[in-house]
Each structure stands twice: as C-alpha cells, then as structure tokens.
Amino acid sequence: MTKWDYDGPILEIDKLSISFFTRLREIPAVMDFSVTVQPGEAMGLVGESGCGKSTVALGVMQDLGVNGRIVGGSIKFKGRDLGEMSAEELRHIRGSEIAMIYQEPMASLNPAMKIGKQLMEVPMIHEGISAKDAWDRALEVVTDVRLPDPKRMLNSYPHQLSGGQQQRIVIAMALMSKPSLLILDEPTTALDVTVEAAVVELVKELGKKYGTSMLFISHNLGLILETCDRLCVMYSGEAVERGSIEDVFDEMQHPYTQALFRSIPLPGADKNARPLVAIPGNFPLPHERPPGCNFGPRCDYFEAGRCDAGDIQMFPVPGNDRHATRCLKFQEIDWNAPMARAVSAEAAEIGRTVLKVDKLKKYYEVAANALFSGHRKVVKANEELSFEAREGETLAIVGESGCGKSTFAKVLMGLETATGGTITLDNSSIEQIPIEKRDTGTVSSVQMVFQNPFDTLNPSMTVGRQIIRALEIFRFGNSEAERRARMLELLDLVKLPRAFAERMPRQLSGGQKQRVGIARAFAGGARIVVADEPVSALDVSVQAAVTDLLMEIQREEKTTLLFISHDLSIVRYLSDRVLVMYLGHVVEMGTTDQVFSPPYHPYTEALLSAVPIADTSVAKKHIVLDGDIPSAMNPPPGCPFQTRCRWKSEVPGNLCETEVPPIRDLGDGHQVKCHLADDLLARMEPVITLAAE
C-alpha cells in the first residue's frame, strides 16, 4: 500500500467518544471530542492526568486494548475513517503514516535489541527496502536527530544511552518512514529541563524539515506555547476550549483555562503579594461526573439550574479564528476582570541562623565494575557545599538530575554520613551521625517531604495511624488520646477533613496524599523541612494548593524550608534564596532576585532559558545546551560546566579546562563560581523579559 495524497486536513476527529468497559460498568474516558489538524500544523492537547488526552492519542492509533472501544464519532486520517480500516490496513498506517513518540524513552525501546535493528525495522516493513538501504536511512536519520557518533549509536543497546539520547532515538524511529502525522505523548516529561529544551527544539525543527503535522500532548502549558500553533484544552474527558495559541493564551474563554493559568507560577507571581490561586475541589472520577458542565462544581462562575441542566455544546467564539469554548456563560463573564485578590500575607520574618553547612563533601566509592571489586572509583556527589539557612527562610536548591541535590538531602537527614566538612544544627554538628544514632529531638526537627506521595505512605495503614506512628517515634504526648488529638490538629493544619484519619492511602488523591506527607513531616514540630520536589508528581491545579499550604505552614511555624527542585518557575515563586548546583558544585547562590537577573552563572543562564513559560508576553533568550550532563563518575577537569558552556571562549587561555573556578562574591552575598571577567558578567543580558504591557 502506498501513501495516498489528500489535500484536506491530516486528521479530523469528529465527536469522538471512547469508553472503557469493566465488569462493573462502562467508564467514558473521552466524550464528544472534536479536533482538526491541518497539514504542517502542530496541535497541542493540554490537560491534567486522567483528562483523556492519552486516550485520544491511542484512539487515533486504534490501539485501545481489550477493554477500550470507540463508542461514537469518527477519526478521519487524510479523509479515510480509521475505524473502518482492516487490521492489515491499520498496520500499514502505523509507523509509516502516523508515528508516535512516548513519555518514557527507556521503556519504549526494546532492551534486548540493538538500536540499529529497531530503527531499520520501520522502513523494511513499510517500504520493503533492503537491510542495506534501511541501515543507510537509519544512519541519516540518527545524524538528523543530532546524536554524536551515529554508527556507534546504531550498534548499541538502549541501556547504553542516556535518557536524552534514548528520546532522540525514539524520535528518529518515528521519523524513519517520514510520517504525515506525529503524535507526541508527553515526550519530555521524563527528561531534565536543559535536555527537554534541546529535544523540543529538535522536534520543532524536524517538524518543519519533514513537513509533519503534530499532535503534542502535554500537561505543561509553557511547552505547548513553545511548540504548537493551536491547542485544545481538555478537562475530564471533554475538550473545553480550542483555538490558536494566541487566542487561548490571551483571550481565554473558559473558566477552567483561566483557572489553570492562574494556578501556575508565572513570572510576576509572588508568594506573599500575589499568591497562586488553586482550583478548589478535586478532579471528578470518570464515573462520578456531575450533570451538565463537568467543571461546574469547581467553577467560580457556576450558576445552579443553568450550568448543570444538560449537556453543553462547543460554542464558536465570534471574531476569532476557529476558537471554540464549552461554556454557556462565556459571553457574560468579564474575562479581563482582575483576579479576586487571594489573601495576601505578610512576608515571614527571617530569624537567626538555624543550619550552617560548611565545605560539606560527600564522596561515594563505587566499584568500577559491578562484579569485581578491586578497582574502585570515587564519585564526587557533593563538592564544598557551604551555606547558611535561617529561621523562616525558604532556600531553594536547584539543579538537574545527578547534580547532587538529593545526596545533600540524604546527608542532612542522616541517611548518609559526610566525607568532609560540617553541618551545624544549633551549635552541634550532625554530619557524621547517622539517623539511627540521632536523638529524637534532632530527628523530629529535621524532616522531609518526599517527591512521590504515592510510594511514601504505607498502603495498609490508615492515614491517622501513620501520623500517630510518627508522633510516637518523636515521643510526642504521654497518652494515645493526646497523640490522637494532635493528629487531628495536624489534619486541620494541612486542611484535610478530620474524617480522613480513618481512610486508607489508596482512597486519597495525589494531592491529599502529599498533604498527609506534609502533616507527617511537621508532626514533631520540625524546624527544618527538606522538601524534595514535593509537587513535581502532582497535577498543575493541585500543585498550587500544596505549594500554598507549605508556605502557609512555614509562615506559622517559622520553619526553615529547603526546597529541592528542578522547576525554576516554582522556585522563583516561593523561595527567598536560591542555590544552583551542577555536578556536585554550587555554581551560583544568592537571593532569588540576584539569581534570576543578570549577571548569571552561564549554567543558570541556560537553565533559565530552558524553562518553558506559559505567557505570550514573555520574551526569552534562546540558549540550547549541547550534549548531556557529564557523568559524575568521570567529571571534566577544571570547571565542571566547561563542556557545555557557551561563554568558555571568553575566558583567556585554557583556564576553564584546568582550574576549578573560585567562588566569587558579586556583592550582597551573591556568589558565582566562574572564571568570567567582571565586565563580561556585567554585560550579560536578562534571559527573560516581560514585554511592555
């Protein structure tokens, strides 16, 4: 079967409904969903987890599994209904006409098959070309996705590549047969920001080069802004708003879209003066959707008797190009009304120094080979970490995976002991005391909120019991009744209903679980809380609520918060001071304003540029870092960042390659670890500029 020519839209989804059938009931996953993708167009699909965006993608692929079925509407690809095609025809379309890029590159490559073979398979199946030609094609495409040493790549197994390289291979695989439509399902979620930026740029460029249409699925509005021409916002199985990027971002016509934008930290948001507005309530479960508007129960503009009367259609927004919204009241709502001032709060007072870290070092010794001891290598996870944290302060530690931020948290918590340097907590040094030997006071005053709330609660213990257990360990209270009372207070503190004490973790949503995690951390009156990516596993609308909760408790309890994150938007929003780490080194440290405005350390500059911002009025300088983060097993000599630094040529001689730069103070405690001359640093331009209003 050859590819056929067709002038109309590449993909037309019309009133599509998809349901999953379980023994109990039919669960509608997608309802009345329509979207059209024109040739060469990139369409974004945004929504929170569970809203049905991935189901749409699998529906297009006609790969819904045993339980899923299309129950209404049609999906037309180049004018032909995919639902009416035979299995054989579908097999020809998959891979050659429609290709897909997946969320987890490691899992989507066959671990026991060489990459070359996996790539060559595509044209060999669809175009019947010889292995030799397929090999040449693979080599060409791998060069196109800018992988170093393409021949070696084709001869390796997936596990021998880094995450970014694997994702490039998946992209290469999708492009092998030059498809007309590319479906990208959260293609960069598992990657670091700087790698994400490079992958996104690559996808955009290749899309242009091959003239491919794209369906880009993401929960990240900023990423959609950078990659797509049009977008469709989904909520609970329905498209709620559809239009061009400019129309939807600047003239949104649906309350959910508006609420979504207000809950993400954009530049300008401030934790005290202009806090984020979280969307109240929870995402409805697929079989518990309300009548009428799905968003109704959480909507500020809800009107009983009208919004919940019956099914709501998409209404075209007059004046805009193909802009539609699923809201009855869109013409009545004043979209430009300033958002209701959420309670702005006084900035917490920053008190005396609680924690002092001085020249902290953590080296790991690993056997270079898993099976033979003998030859050992040293991994320098933390190099000379020095900072102070004061009472009531939020100190953010920023960096990509492998930069040593989690190692530091482990040393602080006592899960590891330090190799050198000191950590002083209230005049006693704790860096050499493992957690089993720490006294209860120290343990309860240094606590942690973990990244993944789904794994950190014991699945077979009620929520209340788990908090009481923590109180027991912290030796709080004299009787069970006292601890129970305190547990209920803690539930109040994290704004969970007291009835939740009797619930099992599986009955809670992600955000609620994270609240339990926070309650547990604060159970013993913690003075230092290490929050390791506390919201990154949560949905956007929940993130804001959890972040605000954390801030509020901090304000009340005067806790020192060490906020570990890779998400610079949220760091800018909530932290007082920021510490940027790269390969175990602190490359920049200062107040949030100092770090987010020039002069920057070159790495901070690149990091800032890599973060997608969901605001059309923001202009960003485009800096893409080449390559991957070097392995901590084998760090480059001299400055750790020299292999990817774009300013390296500005430093005379080979200083960058030979010497680790000294820590320089640029005034007011702003420290930078860089060889760049003062005048060059002073000439740096801001990465993010807000266009004049």
Binding site: R91, G95, M100, A107, A112, V122, I125, Y157, L371
Partner: protein, 348 residues
C-alpha cells in the same frame, strides 16, 4: 568474560568441597560405620571386634584426615597387623603393598569400591550416569521445546481461550506426580486394560537398545511433569513482556503480530525461564528415581537408591559428588547464558 568464568569456577570448586565434606561427614557417622563393619565382617561381631575392624580399616582416623584421604590429597592409611601383613587404603589383592601408590582418592580417579554392587564405584557411576544421560537427553528434547511453545502461545494473548486451555493443561500436568501419570500411561498405552498395547510398560530392554516402543513411556512421564512447570514460568514471563511499552512501540510501528512475538518478545521472555530450565537438569538427575524404578530402568537414580538403602558409603559419596558437580555446572551455564540473553548485564 574469561575472568568471570574463572572466578565462577573457583567459587564452584569451593562450594563443591564444602558440600562433599558435609555429605562425607553424614555418611561416615559412627552408627553407619558400625553397620558397615557388621555387614563386611560378621553380623555377630562383638563391640570390641567392631572397634578393631574399624581400627584396621582406617575408619578411626580423624574425620578431616579421612576426608583428605578420600579426596586424594592426603596419603592413604596403612596398618600392619600382628602377622606383619600390611593393609592400607590403597592396598588391595590386585595392588600389593610394595607397588601401591601413596595417595588414592577421587583426584587420582579412585572412587572406591561399592560393597553392594561389588564393583568399582567409578565404573558403576559411569554406566549408570550414561543410561540416565540418554533418558535425560530425550526428556529435554521433548520437554523444553514443548514447554516453551506452550508458554509462549499461552502468554502472547493473556486471557484468550488458547491461554486458558493451555494453562489448564500445564497446571494439570504439573499437579500430577510421576507415579500417578506413569501408572495411568502404562494402564492406557501398555496394558490390556484399555487394549492400546502401543508401548512397553518396562524400559529394561532400553538399557541395551532404545526403541520407540520401550522408551516412549518413561520419557513422556518425566517430560509431562516438568513441562507444566516450565510452561507456567514461560507464560508468566511472556505475559509480562507483552504488556511492556516497547511491545506497544513495536505494534504502533506496524510490526505484525507474529513478528512482535518472535522478534521483540521472545528473547526478553526467555530470560526468566532459562534459569528454570537449567535448574531442571539436576532435578531430572535425582528426581528420576521414581520413573526409573517404575519402568525398571537401572540408571543413576536407581543406583542412588541402592547405595542409600544398603549403606554403601563410597557409592553414595560418588553419587553425591556427581550430583553436586552437575548442579554447579548447570548453574554456571545458566549464568553465562543469562548474560548472553540479557544485554543489560555485561561483564567488563
């Protein structure tokens, strides 16, 4: 890779030494020795006579020293009785004292003398192991491919009718012990009860020459029992692989279903059952006792039973050495094969 195998072999030898020592100690416990003295000498020996007999036959040396002698690392014992006759471990009627070697043990190829079968242990084990080897070879040839095919077919579409029927068959076959399935098979295919006298109910003649008629039933009996187990393991591993994301990738790349199974899933699905299959070999070696007895096929399992029930210490020791070596060698092969199948594990 070479270094890895070398290390594994060194560890293997150490393990073998430990295991054989344990067996040596257990078989050479005092009551066993007394029993031996009475069977070899006179049933009505007094306790003093037993003690003298043991003294004269070298059984009173310290345990470690006797183990060393048995291994052939230490010189064999020698005794001179009142009449000046020299007896010793390495001295026998055929080998007089003046020509006897200093050491004679497993390392020198002298495995000892079987008191029951009245022959050299090495010769007995050689023939019996050969007979069991032939049986095992045919069992593996039938069992492994069948089990893998069943497992793969059942696992490639989880919950399908094919899956459910094959799973039922494999569970039933594993749940039926050999002494049940063997008897049923004999009753159906070899007796006049059903009348299908297709095969012979005994494999005695197979020791001289294998025919389809005399060897089918023992092979099928063992294969049926082991097959269900491997098939279940393969099925579990296959269903897991079939739900993996890279299988979805392959499907959405347009690969046809047979090719998904053969090219993408099979190699990944075989990693786990491979170890199980290798573990089946030592199981076959020792577990065939029942079948060998049932079909009167005098192989290794039969020998082991004879040695154990007749307190034939040296034969028992010889059998256990073979069993230990077979277990260790198959595990080495399974580890090496595992590396070969799974590219994520690479040795230097």
């Amino acid at each position: 890779m070479g270094l890895f195998i070398l290390r594994r072999i060194v560890i293997m030898i150490l393990t073998a030494l430990c295991l054989t020592f344990i067996v040596f100690v257990l078989t050479n416990l005092q009551p066993n020795l007394e029993k031996l003295a009475k069977t070899q000498g006179n049933v009505r020996m007094t306790d003093e006579q037993v003690a003298t007999w043991l003294e004269m036959n070298g059984y009173t040396d310290p345990m470690l020293s006797r183990y060393g002698q048995w291994l052939g690392l230490l010189p064999g014992w020698t005794r001179e009785d009142a009449e000046g006759n020299v007896t010793g471990r390495c001295i026998s009627r055929d080998v007089p004292a003046d020509v006897a070697p200093e050491r004679c043990g497993v390392l020198q190829g002298d495995w000892g003398w079987s008191t029951v079968l009245r022959d050299e242990v090495s010769a007995i084990i050689g023939t019996r192991l050969g007979l069991t080897g032939i049986l095992m070879f045919w069992v593996m040839l039938l069992m492994v491919p069948m089990a893998l095919i069943m497992g793969v077919l059942a696992g490639m579409r989880e919950g399908s009718r094919l899956d459910r029927s094959l799973s039922t068959v494999s569970i039933a076959s594993t749940a039926t012990p050999e002494y049940v399935s063997g008897v049923i098979l004999i009753a159906v295919f070899a007796s006049s009860a059903v009348g299908l006298k297709w095969f012979k109910g005994t494999a005695t003649s197979a020791m001289d020459g294998i025919t389809f008629e005399n060897f089918t039933l023992p092979v099928v009996t063992i294969a049926l029992y082991g097959m269900g187990y491997i098939a279940r393991m393969t099925r579990a591993s296959m269903t897991e692989v079939m739900t993996a994301q890279y299988i979805r990738t392959a499907r959405l790349k347009g690969v046809s279903f047979p090719n998904i199974v053969l090219k993408h899933a099979l190699r990944n699905a075989l990693i786990a059952p491979f170890t199980v299959i290798m573990l089946q070999i030592p199981w076959l070696l020792n577990g065939v006792v029942i079948v060998e007895t049932l079909f009167n096929y005098k192989g290794f399992g039969w020998t082991l039973v004879q040695a154990a029930s007749n307190n034939d210490i040296e034969l028992l020791l010889g059998c256990s050495v073979v069993a230990v070596v077979v277990v260790l060698v198959t595990q080495l092969i399974s580890d090496v094969g595992y590396i070969f199948l799974n590219p994520r594990i690479r040795i230097s």
